[in-house]
């Protein structure tokens, strides 16, 4: 690719041809503010905040949609630019609900930050009519408050392009424009899959998960309740970000210490549930191969993927593994085996899941997620809600010592750890299934081909006499593409892993929110995943079937993988849903 010579604020630079002014200026170490731009996804130049001057052009130019050209002279800091950015912010604020103190995003709001930086003196400078709106509370996992929406359209773009869901978009026009669903269905009535990626990209407080931390505080203060917590594999690699730590910090020990200080009676680990999932799923895979069952088998731990399949690929539901997701399996074991062993009535146990995921809030409400006659999981919190609880409790997260999970349900292997990144469930399954099929120990537990943040990955592994074809997709648009090839017969796989969120759970919709400047220019998926695999490499046991607590669970209670009891407690079923929602 060729290069061009440009000047930025009078200083000469060489930039790659084809990149935008925004990217070139960023490479020169200058951050141009943006509100609507999402790199590679949404480049519509609508918010008019990234304005710059280009010599020879009459008006100000939107840096996000202007390609660099040879000889271009760019100014990013003139009084004219600063004034224009400030005016545009004031215009955006003219219809914005400015109840900032009580806003969920106060202190983390991109509009608020920019208003401060550009010196907005009067947020009511252009006071006038305000479009009417109601808060949409119809979905179980989140709400939309359009009075805080600035119509940047980032949410609609991730919903339709990254996720191939497309249940939200801009309706009406001009002053009446609002983001909503077809025929003003509530989000909960649509084919929304609950992934929460819209929340992660929202620059303001228009979108947020429903906060269930109040229920946790109540349970913790109720002496009749035995409150058990389980954080997902992905939480330990992201929670630090909510406390100002760098992207990619592994805060496993601090996370455990914080949970203990919040007052949970037992701090266990969803990674135990992940190891258990592998036992059941690898067994299901081996059985389907041996007995001519439905192939490819497709993973079922991502609830957004499951709901997406129910709406869009009902004919492929028999391909889905019948395994419950790891935190649901975990809850089922807590309320049966753990309850019996400790002589606690399951009704008095409260299982709290800390998840990277908003869809887990919907998943726990599904049919058939109540192995002991009570819900497997009682409350689901996102990483963000967990971080807020820690802050509310006044716990100095960054200064905490490292602590260990409680036994026995806190014991896990590296196979459970890698559930947090795309390809992880596949790799963990292969580590176990390979040894079961071939009947001998693996030489290496590393399956490098299924790692990495590419949207679709493929590999073929020789297991015993069998060439096993596998594929991994993350991001539902990628999953769609992959499944169409399977349906048409173009591709033939034995095993497919699908994660709804690009990059897997470390980038889930419940994870700490990063502003556009980070989201667009830091490889969040890559950095978070690196820590996942580092932790796996540092773990002594890396195969689920070697987890001593898992072995004990089977010998004491479940029998063997796929047993009648395991099926009763740990497996579930799916139902076709209509393509356009309403059910």
């Amino acid at each position: 690719m060729g290069t061009v010579n440009i000047k930025i604020n009078g200083v000469s630079y060489t930039a790659n041809q084809g990149i935008t002014v925004l990217e070139a200026v960023r490479e020169a170490g200058i951050d141009i503010p943006t509100l609507c731009y999402l790199r590679g996804v949404s480049e519509i130049g609508a918010c008019r905040i990234c304005l710059v001057e280009i010599k020879g052009q009459r008006g100000l130019v939107a840096a996000c949609v202007s390609p660099v050209a040879d000889g271009m002279e760019i100014t990013t800091t003139s009084p004219r630019i600063m004034d224009a950015r400030k005016k545009n912010l004031e215009l955006i604020l003219s219809t914005h609900n400015k109840k900032c103190l009580s806003c969920v995003r106060s202190g983390q709001c991109e509009l608020q930050d920019l208003s401060q930086i550009y010196g907005v003196e009067d947020e009511d400078r252009y006071a006038g009519a305000i479009p009417e709106s109601e808060i949409d509370q119809t979905a179980g996992h989140m709400y939309r408050d359009n009075s805080k929406c600035i119509l940047c359209r980032r949410c609609t773009v991730v919903c339709s392009q990254d996720q191939d869901v497309g249940v939200i978009g801009a309706n009406e026009r001009g002053f009446k424009t609002y983001i909503g669903s077809a025929f003003d269905q509530g989000l909960g009535e649509t084919a929304c899959v609950g992934c929460g990626q819209c929340i992660v990209v929202c620059p303001t407080g228009a979108l947020s998960e429903k906060d269930h931390s109040g229920e946790v505080w109540a349970a913790l203060s109720d002496e009749t309740k035995h409150v058990v917590v389980q954080p997902a594999p992905a939480i330990r690699f992201t929670a630090g970000e909510a406390f100002g730590m760098p992207v990619g910090s592994n805060v496993k020990g601090k996370m455990v210490a914080a949970l203990r200080r919040l007052g949970f009676d037992a701090v266990f680990d969803t990674e135990f549930g992940a190891d258990l999932t592998i036992m059941e799923e690898a067994n299901e895979f081996v059985e389907r191969i041996k007995n001519g069952g439905v192939l490819p088998i497709i993973t079922s731990c991502s609830p957004s993927w499951v709901k997406y399949a129910e709406h869009n690929f009902p004919e492929m539901l028999p391909n889905l593994s019948t395994c419950k997701s790891p935190h649901q399996m975990f809850g089922a074991i807590v309320k049966t085996w753990y309850a019996q062993k400790n002589g606690i009535d399951a009704k008095n146990i409260v299982v709290v899941s800390v998840m990277p995921c908003t869809a887990k809030k919907l998943e726990k409400e599904r049919d058939d997620q109540n192995a002991a006659g009570v819900p497997d999981v009682d409350i689901v919190l996102t990483t963000r809600e967990f971080a807020n609880m820690v802050k509310k409790a006044g716990i100095d997260f960054v200064g905490l010592p490292d602590e260990n999970f409680d036994d026995p349900l806190g014991q896990a292997t590296g196979a459970g750890t890698i559930f947090g990144a795309t390809g992880g469930v596949m790799e963990a399954s292969l580590r176990t299934a390979s040894e079961w099929i071939a009947g001998e120990e693996l030489k290496s537990v590393d399956f490098h081909e299924v790692r990495g943040t590419k949207g679709i990955k493929e590999a073929t592994y020789k297991i015993g006499d069998l060439d096993v074809n596998v594929a991994v997709a993350s991001g539902l648009a990628n999953a769609h593409q992959l499944l169409e090839k399977v349906k048409s017969g173009e591709k033939d796989y034995h095993f497919i892993e699908i994660m709804a969120c690009k990059g897997g759970c470390v980038n889930g919709g419940g994870q700490p929110i990063q502003p556009a400047s980070v989201y667009n220019f830091v490889d969040l998926r890559g950095e978070r995943a690196k820590t996942v695999y580092r932790q796996d490499a540092d773990t002594p046991l890396r195969k689920s079937h070697e987890n001593p607590s898992i072995k004990k669970l089977y010998s004491d209670f479940l029998g063997k993988p796929g047993s009648h009891k395991a099926h009763e407690l740990l497996h579930t079923s799916y139902k076709p849903r209509s393509k356009h929602g309403w059910d």
Binding site: G166, A170, R173, G186, H580
Partner: protein, 163 residues
């Protein structure tokens, strides 16, 4: 949920096959949505959810994409035409003479807004531009019959004629 979905859909097999033909002709044409929507409105007279779902499935687009375009352009309607069409002139002369009050009263009485149709199909309401009869301001027109120089208190009596 909007009021549009409460109106019973009375599409015929003939209309459906016409729409499928239009969709088929345009299924692989990029940017064909406007054409398909215009023809669909010609066939059905309006674009209810049943029609928009057929178009969404036929063109492989999310329903919300269709609805976003339909609500963006004034040429598309989510409502069928009622048996009686009430137009309120909102031209300058009528407006200063109180057309806004007439319009608001009609909205309240019929429980619909501009461009909508009552669920029983009896009434449509339009707020239209100047019809050129400023001497009669404020003016409403029902099925072509003009009622000029009226006030809110006359409306009940006028509507009764169409019972």
């Amino acid at each position: 949920m909007g009021t549009a979905v409460k109106i019973p859909f009375k599409g015929t097999a003939q209309q459906k096959s016409e729409l499928y033909k239009v969709i088929e002709e345009n299924a692989n044409v990029r940017g064909a949505l406007m054409t398909v929507l215009q023809k669909a409105q010609d066939i059905y007279g309006y674009l209810p959810i049943q029609v928009q779902e057929m178009i969404a499935d036929g063109l492989g687009l999310p329903l919300e994409d269709i609805y976003g375009v339909v609500t963006f352009y004034a040429q598309f309607s989510l409502y069928p035409r009622g048996r009686n069409i009430v137009s309120v002139c909102m031209g300058t002369a009528c407006y200063v003479k109180g057309a806004g009050d007439l319009y608001n009263d009609l909205c309240e009485r019929l429980k619909i807004k501009d461009g909508e149709c009552t669920p029983d199909g009896k009434w449509s309401l339009d707020a239209c531009r100047c019809v050129g009869a400023c001497g009669l301001a404020p003016l409403i027109i029902i099925n072509g019959d003009p009622y000029g120089r009226i006030s809110v208190s006359d409306i009940a009596e006028i509507l009764k004629k169409y019972d």
